[in-house]
Subunit: 343 residues, 2 copies
């Protein structure tokens, strides 16, 4: 026993201080075990418990369901899953706004469908123009420019446009319980991706600031692009031609192409997410598929089998046999939008 | 002054111990400042210094060249940049091996070109078959199976195939200085991507274990894939049809599509990387483009303007005016392969 140890043994103040030092060193670097609820906007109940149990299972390195951090891939649909999609998909409302903003430079639009319908608020004609009409509007407003120019347009929309019924900026109409779920997953070393039918560059302009999800973790539909040197500047130009629809069976294909691993958790709200949940939940080991069911006509919207946006029919029929969790917005969520928490 | 402070003041042992406690607490959580060379396999000189200066500049939060961590995107070509590409691209050697392994199930190949040429080691006929011949071989050996089945074939090649001249497994023929550069960038909060002309699923089978780069940070060429339910199993099937060639002007397009941000650092070795370096280095702020010049006929291979693989012609001519760093393998690298460090 050396001199210092002898001194400690004989001096109660030193012994106590040494214990304190050790205790401080042991706790200073470890995260304080949190007793805070990770999902405060979710009501206590089966849905919340199932999510928490799943995360606990896959992160328990001694458990049978353990999944190493590098395989903890989670994919979220966007429209109707992370933010609202009524009265119609927000990107369509962006396109309508662009038509009105660009109309002064396109006098021919006042007599050309489907542009005329948009400018005259003629919803019957717009509806009659159908998907082909929407594609014309989409290409006229979102292509024929560089990726950087497009990003600025989306930024302007995020900053200045308001949702027609709530009057809120669109990026405030995201679901508070989902923001908490994303953060909870990230805190448990999940890598969280968006896999949406929405435009990939439309989403990337704001997903990092709104959801904390970086551009390379956003997968969406896309149009063709090409690299060119224009007036001495290197640019990427958006061309008016579809490249990929990221919907239905396209979602597993895009997940494989962009992410390269099968997710262990997938969250959607419509039959467009069916194959993503199928692909996710049929892998080996612990898996969780979640469908958000829009049941809250008062605080959000209530729709499922007959809705144009976010139609959920087959998903409701087969969720049970597939073991998917169906989240009931009206009952499972205390709060829908973040601004409900502001006073 | 309270009792404890009085005691400390009067007791030199306690005072010293308190100082020690504070010092321990202050240093225990911070990473010990490392004086270790982050790039030990790079010779001391201008190339190494320029890389270190660049990383120091973009990570200095008080400096004019500071780049926030979420914008520190680095892209690396693979063939000839991270691993060797002689006598030809390693994926072509994988394809040749697959032809020989599959030949027993394809008796017709013994009389069908270009398969016959492979089976008979008839290099003249194989060369005559050209790119169209290689595409036939590629599709016959890499498509018509599920992504999971393909991954197992690549894993088998990684585990069992040997390079024809070195006799080493292919995944040992990676460049030690590049492994160090990747680690150095990751330690400085760069997000590191591979952007290669190689097959995306061919690379993803082994990039995480060899380079520490996860599947979703690997961008490459791809064939078409489709999702299907086959015998009750959900699978993704590889179809014998090209989807995307990730080379030349395709690289900025793929970077924009997969990563969604312009890199601040790009590393390549051939004219196929020219546009990637152009796109990277012409952005605002601090940027670095690097070309690896294969100058070491003794330890690796020496080739540039006239090589079929990794042809570097325009890049050499224009590196200077573009401000790109040209790494001279013979002089800048102390070691080429990791196994040179083993005794």
């Amino acid at each position: 026993m050396n001199q210092v140890n002898k001194m400690n043994q004989n001096n109660p103040i030193l012994t106590g201080l040494t214990t304190l030092v050790l205790a401080l060193l042991l706790t200073a670097c470890a995260a304080t075990p949190s007793v805070t609820d990770p999902l405060p906007s979710w009501t206590t109940g089966a849905s919340k418990q199932r999510i928490i149990n799943f995360v606990a299972d896959v992160t328990d390195s001694d458990g049978l369901s353990y999944v190493p951090a590098n395989e903890r891939i989670a994919t979220f649909d966007n429209d109707g899953t992370l933010w609202s999609e009524k009265p119609t998909y927000f990107q369509l409302l962006f396109i309508l706004r662009q038509v009105t903003l660009m109309a002064a430079d396109h006098p021919e639009w006042s007599t050309t469908q489907p542009f005329q319908a948009v400018l005259e608020n003629d919803w019957a004609s717009l509806k009659a123009a159908g998907a082909a009409g929407w594609e014309k509007l989409a290409m006229a407003t979102q292509a024929g420019m560089t990726t950087e120019e497009f990003r600025l347009l989306v930024n302007d929309w995020v900053a200045n446009a308001k949702h027609p019924t709530s009057g809120k900026p669109y990026t405030q109409m995201v679901y508070q319980p989902m923001l908490e779920l994303i953060d909870y997953l990230k805190a448990n070393e999940f890598k969280v991706f968006i896999v949406s039918g929405g435009g990939i560059e439309f989403m990337r302009a704001w997903t990092e600031s709104v959801y904390g999800i970086p551009p390379d973790q956003v997968v969406g539909s896309s149009i063709e692009t090409r690299f060119e040197v224009r007036d001495g500047q290197n640019v990427i130009v958006r061309e008016p031609k579809m490249h990929f629809y990221n919907d239905k069976g396209g979602k597993p294909v895009a997940i494989n192409r962009f992410i390269g691993q099968r997710p262990i958790l997938a969250v959607g709200n419509s039959d467009g997410d069916f194959e993503m949940l199928q692909w996710t939940s049929s892998g080996e080991g612990a898996r969780l598929g979640i469908l958000v069911h829009h049941t809250d006509a008062e605080r959000e919207w209530a729709y499922d089998r007959d809705s144009l946006e976010g139609r959920l029919n087959r998903g409701l029929d087969e969720a049970g046999q597939n073991g998917w969790l169906v989240v009931d917005m009206a009952n499972d969520w205390k709060v829908i939008y973040p601004y409900e928490n502001s006073y």
